[in-house]
């Protein structure tokens, strides 16, 4: 039996490979260490989160008054196009891939991802995508103005007449992002199938890993459709093929099928890992096993399968025939069941627990409550008659931001706080974290709740101006939006200062179960000095059994004194 000390020797800490720079500079190298790549993903995507957020502030600035008076209509259209695209392709996907990259190998007891070089290449395509996206602000005619859906024929109209225009750059960016994600998908799926530690059977695999598996399987079956659609669109624009161009006999609805065949399940590529995060964070901070773990784990795969057959619910108002509307209404409603199972499991997990309101716990709880709300409005949207009234209105915008901001971004924050001590060996500042949570939770409600009534009243989405009757709800939403902008400041402050001089807290400050807590913080290059041999399930709270046979029980580590005070106060 090896004895691991609380602190890894300075020389080994977080060193990506022998001879690599042992400081922040390693994050700027072509590293093949999944932990370095994970952090590269997370930091890069956060940069884009701030850019996407800034764009949304300008949009909310425009929408604080009914008239289009802050920015021109073309600018507004470019803003929501780039906001949506950047938030999805440059923030949510990459940051979740980053978390998965960092955590999955550690959680399954592997030394790295299955294909470390492929992993690094996947990452370095992300900045390329980002540069293409941002470059479109500089080309004549400006960025794409056709929304993140890029529905033809609007996306085929090219007012500049140039071949190099914002729309073409946008398509290239999305296609490259697709290729990067497919490579990532192959890597994750292989890693999860092949590299689990001895003894880690499927039902000893953490729920987060299951959720990443589900999400990445979607990437593999879905992305080819999106990428194919994007290429056909590109051909229509550049060499004048007629897949989608109606004036040349093409069918624009066909594009919608390609697009949504991927882009509905894509919601689950984003939300499944967030579910996984909730499933990991709750047991630790409520000190109870994940209730219904097997069902929660399996429901991730069920969601993967079912969500492949619901895409037409985005096209109920297109020229979709009645039977198809009804069929896809039923399949869409069925997705509510595996999602619901998870929510019940989480509530049962905290029930009767020993709950601590740490920052990650607050974000997880907040995220779950928002998801509950968003899930219910999602069922509304699945109903064909209701969707006919509310689709393409602010009701939908409110709904999907509740998913994206309320549940997914909250989940991401929960993960970053929860695993921050693992990644850096230091603890974040609780006070700042709680301030961050309070601002985020209030901001989310104030921004996105008012969008629902505005939508029910009939305010269309993607409008730079609106009728006076909607002004009240929009003023509220704008104030909330600025509050959300503000909420990122304590977060940045917290992360930067805690990384530099936060309290050193050892390997397992939460006294958590899970393989990732068995190794040093930050983990050494090879993750584990000795491959762990798993002997029990992942959430052994309250039963004093070892998780692995060859490394001492992590539950024995004590809380650092300062934390004990804060967390219980």
């Amino acid at each position: 039996m090896t004895n691991i000390s609380l602190e890894a020797p300075e020389a080994v800490r977080g060193q990506p490979y022998p001879g690599a720079p042992d400081n922040w500079k390693r994050f700027f190298t072509f590293s093949t260490d999944h932990k370095v790549i994970g952090i590269q993903y997370i930091v890069t995507s956060f940069f884009f989160f701030l850019i996407g957020g800034t764009l949304s502030m300008i949009m909310r600035g425009e929408l604080i008054t009914p008239d289009a008076d802050l920015v021109d209509r073309t600018v507004y259209n470019a803003l929501f196009t780039m906001h949506g695209s950047i938030m999805l392709f440059m923030w949510t996907f990459p940051v979740l891939v980053g978390l998965g990259n960092y955590l999955v190998p550690l959680m399954i007891g592997a030394r790295d991802m299955a294909f470390p070089r492929l992993n690094a290449v996947s990452f370095w395509m992300v900045p390329v995508v980002g540069i293409l996206m941002l470059a479109s602000f500089l080309v004549p005619g400006g960025p794409s103005q056709s929304g993140w859906w890029a529905y033809p024929p609007v996306s085929l109209q090219n007012p500049t007449g140039n071949l190099l225009n914002g729309q073409v750059l946008w398509i290239l960016a999305v296609a490259i992002s697709g290729v990067s994600s497919i490579m990532g998908g192959v890597n994750f799926v292989t890693t999860i199938f092949k590299m689990r530690a001895p003894g880690m059977t499927w039902f000893r695999t953490p729920a987060f890993v299951w959720s990443v598996l589900g999400a990445q399987l979607i990437q593999l079956y879905g992305l080819p459709a999106l990428t194919g659609g994007a290429v056909m669109l590109l051909l229509d624009i550049t060499i004048g093929t007629s897949f989608f161009a109606p004036e040349r006999g093409g069918n624009p609805i066909l594009y919608q099928h390609f697009f949504w065949f991927y882009s509905h399940p894509a919601v689950y590529v984003m939300v499944l890992p967030a579910f996984g995060i909730f499933s990991e964070v709750l047991p630790v901070h409520a000190r109870k096993p994940l209730f219904g773990y097997r069902v929660i784990a399996a429901s991730s795969i069920l969601i993967t399968v079912v969500s492949g057959a619901v895409w037409v619910h985005h096209m109920f108002a297109s020229a979709t025939p009645g039977w198809m509307r009804i069929l896809f209404m039923v399949t869409s409603m069925l997705v509510a069941i595996p999602s619901g199972i998870k929510v019940f499991g989480w509530v049962a997990t905290i029930w009767g627990g020993k709950i601590r309101f740490t920052t990650p716990m607050l974000f997880a709880l907040g995220g779950i409550s928002n998801w509950l709300f968003a899930g219910i409005t999602g069922i509304f949207l699945a109903s064909v008659p209701i969707d006919i009234h509310v689709n393409n209105t602010y009701f939908v915008v409110g709904h999907f931001h509740y998913v994206l901001y309320g549940a997914i971004v909250m989940g991401i924050y929960a993960a970053i706080y929860h695993w921050f001590p693992k990644m850096t060996g230091r603890m974040y500042y609780e006070g700042l974290g709680k301030l961050h949570f309070a601002l985020t939770y209030l901001g989310t409600a104030l921004t996105f709740l008012p969008m629902h009534p505005a939508g029910l009243m009939g305010m269309p989405r993607r409008v730079a101006s609106y009728d006076l009757e909607f002004a009240y709800w929009n003023v509220l939403a704008s104030i909330g939006g600025f509050l959300l902008g503000l909420s990122t400041l304590p977060f940045i402050l917290n992360m930067v200062s805690a990384w530099i001089r936060g309290e050193k807290v050892g390997n397992n400050p939460w006294r958590a179960y899970g393989l990732e807590w068995l190794t040093s913080s930050p983990p050494t290059v090879e993750n584990f000095e000795e491959t762990p041999v798993v002997v029990s399930g992942p959430y052994g709270y309250g039963r004093n059994q070892p998780l692995v046979g060859n490394i001492p029980n992590p539950g024995l580590t004590q809380f650092p004194e300062s934390l004990t005070q804060q967390q219980t106060s």
């Binding site: 069902v295 020229a319 049962a348």
Partner: protein, 325 residues
């Protein structure tokens, strides 16, 4: 003893939740614009049902959730773990079965409502190649009780036929019988109206919130669409499918009026000579591109290139209201 108390608390909570849900279900009617079409009534009832059930589920879950957050917190120096309960097969079966039954019910009710709305005209039948399936629903569009009168009116009155053309960025309504063109949509109350929707360029969305109805207008497709206005007044038609630069300004008024007034309007319009109508998109475009700067509007940031809007449509009738703005 403990058990009894728990059951009591749960019962009281369930009753409170049920009452709140009922209240919300009633409340939901007030979140909408006026019910100006028969379809709107159907939708609002369905929405109310969803709101009631949704509230019930939300509170039903959030209650225990908040309860444990408040009462199951670790006390100050308590470093121990909670009870290691991992699952409960019976409970798991119940909470899979209940949502399953619930969503299947909601699907069925939604289907019935959709059938009653019968918003798709005969074109749908042609596309489907199986008219007999749609026909019954089509012939019986309404709830029997509250809308008996409307139903009678619909069955006896001939259907009005109106051609709708959408383009970047204008709505043009053509009344083929009288050969009248207008940028304001006039409809007779309590009559079934059939539209033929066409787009000249990109996707548009035919959306009248007061009717709760929406249909994308697709280039190269003629889409038949039906509805029955039941309340006189002026409502707003909005483009719901993003159609480019002046998308937000692509709106029109919808005037629902008694049948005789409607006929009077048709007669008056037929007498009017065709003139170019005011068009918001064309107007804004000319202002933004006015080099002399005399009519510059007050926009802080000028933007990028755009498709020039189509010239203002030439119509027999154009609303006054828009000319003023």
């Amino acid at each position: 003893m403990m058990k009894l108390r728990a059951i009591l608390i749960m019962t009281v909570y369930a009753i409170l939740v049920a009452m709140t849900s009922l209240w919300m279900a009633k409340q939901s009617y007030s979140w909408f614009p006026p019910e100006a079409a028969a379809e709107a009534k159907l939708l609002d009832d369905l929405f109310s049902l969803f709101t009631g059930l949704g509230t019930f589920i939300y509170l039903g879950v959030i209650g225990p959730f908040l309860y444990s957050l408040v009462f199951h917190r670790a006390s100050k120096y308590d470093m121990s773990d909670g009870p290691p309960i991992e699952g409960n097969t019976w409970l798991e079966i119940v909470w899979t079965a209940v949502p399953l039954v619930l969503v299947l019910t909601l699907s069925f009710v939604s289907y019935r409502t959709y059938e009653k709305m019968a918003v798709r005209g005969p074109m749908e039948l042609v596309h489907l190649h199986m008219p007999q399936i749609i026909q019954p629903a089509y012939a019986e569009p309404f709830d029997s009780k509250p809308q008996q009168e409307i139903q009678n009116a619909v069955e006896t009155a001939p259907i009005e036929q109106i051609d709708v053309t959408a383009k970047q960025w204008a709505w043009i309504f053509h009344y083929p019988k009288q050969d009248i063109t207008s940028t304001e949509l006039h409809l007779p109350v309590d009559r079934r109206v059939r539209f033929t929707l066409r787009s000249q360029d990109v996707l548009h969305g035919f959306y009248i919130p007061a009717f709760r109805l929406k249909q994308d207008v697709v280039p190269n497709h003629e889409i038949d669409f039906e509805l029955t206005p039941v309340k006189t007044g002026t409502y707003r038609l909005r483009d719901s499918m993003f159609s480019g630069t002046y998308f937000a300004a692509n709106q029109a008024d919808v005037v629902v009026q008694p049948f005789n007034e409607y006929q009077q309007w048709l007669a008056d319009a037929a007498a009017g000579s065709p003139t170019p109508a005011f068009n918001r998109a064309a107007f804004e475009y000319s202002q933004a591109n006015d080099r002399s700067g005399t009519t510059k509007d007050k926009v802080a940031v000028r933007g990028w290139d755009t498709i020039p809007p189509a010239p203002p449509p030439v119509v027999n009738y154009a609303p006054k209201r828009e000319q003023e703005s």
